[in-house]
């Protein structure tokens, strides 16, 4: 590690946080859709 290490860490963290957020958003919408489907008469 050297003086640039923080730049590297920030890029890896931002990438995986954005990816995680997108997956979480899709998962929440899939779950909401399943609930709405089961509530349908």
């Amino acid at each position: 590690m050297d003086k640039y290490a923080w730049y590297v860490i920030v890029v890896y963290v931002v990438t995986f946080v954005l990816l995680g957020a997108y997956l979480a958003w899709m998962w929440l919408r899939l779950r909401a859709g399943t609930r709405a489907g089961s509530d349908r008469p």
């Binding site: 640039y4 890029v11 990438t15 997956l23 859709g33």
Partner: protein, 236 residues
């Protein structure tokens, strides 16, 4: 939620390859000139590759929609565009954080950077247009054309560093003419692993987003049918 074995297996393979790629990327030897900044490339380059793949997918699925007129191609085109936008943002963030210590600035209006930023405008408009058209068939048709034209971005962005020389370095991996890789072989192997991981990630995200889009579309159609039958019953 129903369990889907293909999605689960694809997700597991994606996660495994991503972890291996991240491990290799973070432990790759330091570069003589760039130091640890070279490790940033193992996210930046595969992200750019994924966005190319996604925009290519948007064009291809749009074309398939225009030929076959099946809505699933439109759903895949939209899903692909969304993934492309997300990974263009990742590419830009990675590029900016590499540029600051290397070029001394986060951003310059270099041809590669400018065309990358323009892709956000093109595909942002693609996604915006979709929200503005209610008729599903017309929405699919218009966005297929926009997506097809937008695919021109991929070769233009790839070649921008050759056609309009700026501060961005030329391609490390030259695909046109004699194929050449202008970096140490160890970086080539790490990049290969990371590119494989991001390719799997694209297919995984596309599959999940496609499933979500299909379910939402089915639900919207049920809602429309329910509205029509309620209206019919009210008219008596």
């Amino acid at each position: 939620m129903r369990r889907d074995l293909t999605t689960t297996l694809l997700g597991a393979a994606t996660l495994l390859t991503l972890l291996v790629a991240a491990g290799l990327g973070l432990s790759a030897p330091l570069d003589l000139n760039q130091g640890s900044l070279v490790r940033l490339m193992f996210v930046h380059v595969p992200s750019a590759w994924l966005s190319y793949l996604a925009y290519g997918g948007t064009g291809l699925f749009g074309l398939l929609y225009l030929i076959r007129r099946e809505r699933r191609w439109d759903r895949l085109a939209m899903s692909s565009a969304e993934i492309g936008v997300l990974f263009t943002v990742v590419t830009i963030v990675g590029g900016m954080l590499w540029a600051k210590p290397t070029w001394g600035t986060y951003w310059v209006w270099d041809a590669r950077l400018t065309t990358t930023a323009l892709s956000l405008v093109v595909y942002g408009a693609y996604l915006l247009i979709r929200t503005m058209i209610d008729d599903p068939e017309r929405r699919a048709r218009v966005s297929a054309v926009v997506g097809l034209v937008g695919t021109l971005y991929v070769p233009i962005n790839y070649m921008a560093v050759e056609w309009w020389r700026g501060v961005h370095q030329t391609q490390t991996l030259k695909l046109l003419g004699k194929v050449r890789f202008d970096a140490a072989p160890v970086y080539g192997w790490v990049l290969l692993m990371a590119t494989l991981a991001f390719t799997l990630l694209y297919f995984y995200l596309l599959r999940v987003r496609g499933i979500l889009a299909a379910r939402e579309e089915a639900r919207e159609e049920l809602d429309v049918q329910a509205d029509v039958s309620t209206l019919g019953a009210a008219r008596g």
